[in-house]
Amino acid sequence: MIWLTWRQFRPQAVTAIAALAAFAILLGATGPHLASMYAASRVAGCQGNCDHLARNFLAAVRGIYPVVFTLGLAVIILAPAVIGVFWGAPLITREFETGTFRTAWTQTITRARWLATKLILPGLAAIAVTEGLSLMYGWWAAPIGQAARVTGGVNFPLGMGPFGLPAFDTHGVVPIGYAAFGFALGVTAGVLIRRTVPAMAVTLAIFAAVQLAMPLAIRPRLFPPVHATQSLAANFSGIQNQGPGGHFAFTLDYLDGAPGAWILSSGAVNAAGQPVSVMPTDCVHVAQTTGDPTQCLASHGISIAVTYQPTSRYWPMQWTETGIYLALALALAGFCLWRLGGRRLS
């Protein structure tokens, strides 16, 4: 059965290897120069005011590099979906549509073993491909990520820190979970729907929904967030919005003393810790005359309350999320085994 699975999987495997090779060539051709630019910028090993060096480096990253940077992120984010749609969904539907399941299931092999082999080999390949892309990209983009972290998020999205949407989802071990889940989801849709094109569409829709729900709704709650209060210092780097009638809001995207932390929520509170949205009248006046009411607000005891995930939770969150996706993938695989080994069949 391993041979048959491999033989049936061969065209996809060739495509995957070609895609990996193309990605490797693209990164291999541009990566060393990017690394040498980074070394020349002396951002690494810099003491003191590094912001300037990092900004210079990022400004020098032009031409093809931002293109490769964005393309790489897109490839890694899309890979599990593409695998689910083009490897997972047709895996079983193809057998149903051509009737070959009748040939396969009347050989001396149980359906459970047949399906298990078909799941394991392409499933592992899906994981290897996606994680392979991620590791290559991780090597390539490391200088940009490091420099952008120094600047606190200028020019490149990786500057949002390791928890940022493209960064967290494309690095570490989570691509393993996404690939396994995408593939298993495709297979399950195929087992239930039995027709290739609708199964592909359903796979894509569900996978996209899950991949949006995870960073927006689930990942922030994987671990209870840490609460902190940040004073409105003169070098306050948050974004402030002012509206009519003294209404104001603070949004913090960088927390002093916790660089790279994932800020989940932030807002102005008074000395008692209650949220405030209207400035004291004297501060409204300051805002109107100087444009910066920060010090006035600070003198009123107003500070910023923040909830965040510290960087120390990066790997626990990576592993937890990967575990969730792998568990989902295994549950789907188990369902497929149960379903095909079960009674109903057309």
């Binding site: 009748r102 009347t106 050989q107 001396t108 057309s346």
Partner: protein, 300 residues
């Protein structure tokens, strides 16, 4: 006589539609059994149940004295050629043989290779580019190569042209002669079955209408032609399967184990096809659907 397939009240429902219902039959071992019936009689459903591709909704089915599915030991004993001979279009003929070897512990590689060779097929050709006849041959090789005790063929020649059909059946007969296994073969083309089968089962609406060795069936069915008369006046022991009348003449198909003595009748042999058709018509509601004055064509 042991049975290769034995069913009891067997039924299979797809959502609200019964493809087979309350089917009780016994298919004896050591024969080439032809399973005939009109489209929709439940032949394919019955055979898919027999090889475990389907699970029954009601009733029981035993194949080679065991439940049809689940264990590899049972799967190894049954060779199956599904309708339209589904093969992997992207795999070559040789790769299909390799598939057979990898998935069947009892695989007879020597036989399979010899057969493909003898059929004149190119082992390197992709199955997707084979003709219908060639595909059926490869699928048959796959089914026989696992050395089954029972070979089940579901409409193996339905989609083949007449020449390919004849060649396939001749090859099948040779394979059957060469190796010893029971065969169950379904078809709605009775003329084809006549060539290979020595036992016949007529299935209409899930019911067995006629079953028995072909010789015996032919020996006990007679076509009587004579002056017009009421079939009800025939002696006991002569069962009328079909009757047709013109103004002056009556033609009857009767089943009897005794000789027909009445000199008023001209007794002639009946062909298998006419016999089977008569049973199918009988099942479909006697002669009511026929046009008046219909004559049964007689093959001498």
């Amino acid at each position: 006589m042991t049975a290769v397939i034995e069913t009891e009240g067997l039924g299979k429902r797809y959502r609200r539609l019964w493809a087979l219902s309350d089917c009780t039959l016994s298919i004896p071992a050591g024969h080439v059994v032809g399973l005939v019936g009109p489209n929709g009689a439940g032949k394919t459903t019955l055979l898919n149940l027999a090889v475990g591709l389907l699970a029954p909704t009601t009733g029981t089915i035993e194949v080679l004295a065991g439940p049809p599915r689940a264990r590899p030991a049972q799967l190894a004993r049954i060779g199956f050629l599904a309708q339209d001979a589904p093969l992997y279009a992207g795999l070559t003929v040789a790769e299909h043989l390799k598939l057979g070897a990898r998935l069947n512990p009892g695989w007879d590689a020597e036989y399979a290779r010899r057969r493909i060779d003898w059929l004149g097929l190119d082992p390197g050709q992709k199955a997707g580019t084979l003709s219908g006849g060639q595909r059926a041959q490869v699928a048959l090789t796959l089914a026989i190569g696992k050395r089954p005790e029972l070979l089940i063929l579901d409409e193996p020649v339905a989609s083949l042209d007449p020449l390919a059909r004849r060649e396939f059946l001749e090859d099948l007969m040779e394979a059957i002669a060469e190796r010893e296994f029971s065969v169950v073969l379904s078809s709605h083309l009775i003329a084809d079955l006549e060539r290979v089968c020595d036992y016949l089962i007529v299935l209409v609406d899930s019911r067995v209408r006629l079953a028995g060795p072909v010789d015996e069936l032919l020996a006990t069915h007679h076509l009587l032609t004579g002056p017009r008369r009421d079939p009800a006046t025939l002696p006991a022991g002569q069962r009328v399967i079909s009757a047709s009348h013109t103004d002056r003449q009556t033609t009857l198909l009767v089943r009897t184990s005794e000789a027909v003595l009445d000199p008023a009748w001209t007794v002639s042999e009946v062909g298998l096809e006419d016999m089977v058709l008569a049973y199918m018509r009988e099942a479909a509601g006697g002669g009511r659907r026929r046009a008046p004055g219909y004559h049964l064509e007689v093959q001498q």
